[in-house]
Symmetry: C2
Subunit: 135 residues, 2 copies
Amino acid sequence: MMSKKCKYAFKALTHLAKRYPDTHCQTAEIARVENIPRKFLELILLDLKKGGFVNSKQGAGGGYYLVKAPETILLGEIYRLFDGAIALLPCVSLKFYEKCKDCPDEVACGLHRVFLQIRDQTLKLMLQKTVSDIL
Amino acid sequence: MMSKKCKYAFKALTHLAKRYPDTHCQTAEIARVENIPRKFLELILLDLKKGGFVNSKQGAGGGYYLVKAPETILLGEIYRLFDGAIALLPCVSLKFYEKCKDCPDEVACGLHRVFLQIRDQTLKLMLQKTVSDIL
DNA sequence: TATAAATTCTATTAAACAAGTAGGGTATTT
DNA sequence: AAATACCCTACTTGTTTAATAGAATTTATA
């Protein structure tokens, strides 16, 4: 399961994508339309900004807008930003790799082999689908 | 990411599968060989027993053994037993379905559509692979 | 039949994480 | 100057994770 934070991020990006590349939106509007708690959404948009997916303008009449085209924002990138690894085991993760302490030999490990296949498949789709596929 | 509990369950099942259908194993042995905290493993084996995957014999010389053949134990079943839904969103889960409170229309929801595809793909593999594939 | 061996059951714990909430600070427009 | 809207830090409440502890129960066997 993905966190609500991650789901809200997808919804916010989708909302902004509808306006892309013209106007920008305010958090209050996104929160209202997408049914996301406003203050929680602010934190999410801030993370998306740090991640380089959106940018913002402060002050009256300001707001958020997409930096990249919707079809260039991969779902996997967003997932990783909020929920970390896409893989089901740390030892098969590409971006969040960690050795299993209880496993003496990764190469011989059957779990490693099987869950690498599952990761490959999921990863492929997650890095192929973009925000524009949600629209 | 799957929980350690779930990973340990897979390892325990694999350990038992090596002996199948002949002998049974004791938790102490599994714990030692597979590097799993013994008391934690006991809880896991109990859950696997309640789930109908293993059975046990109490008393001296007792232990756990597989009830089903390794090739009939689907990875998805075990995953669900310990970690719940395989899907990334509650609204696309088969066994743990829940409506998203923030979403007015599931049919029109782009997130729903995309993550249903991802679930379908993952589910297929998770219900196709079995414990014998880990061996 | 006593004893040791093994599972079974219930409870507790510390740490991390999830999902927000709160409130003030900073920048910009009007 | 005032209103607007993003920016930042901290806090809270509840749940989950990953164990640990100890006693109860069952069974083989010496």
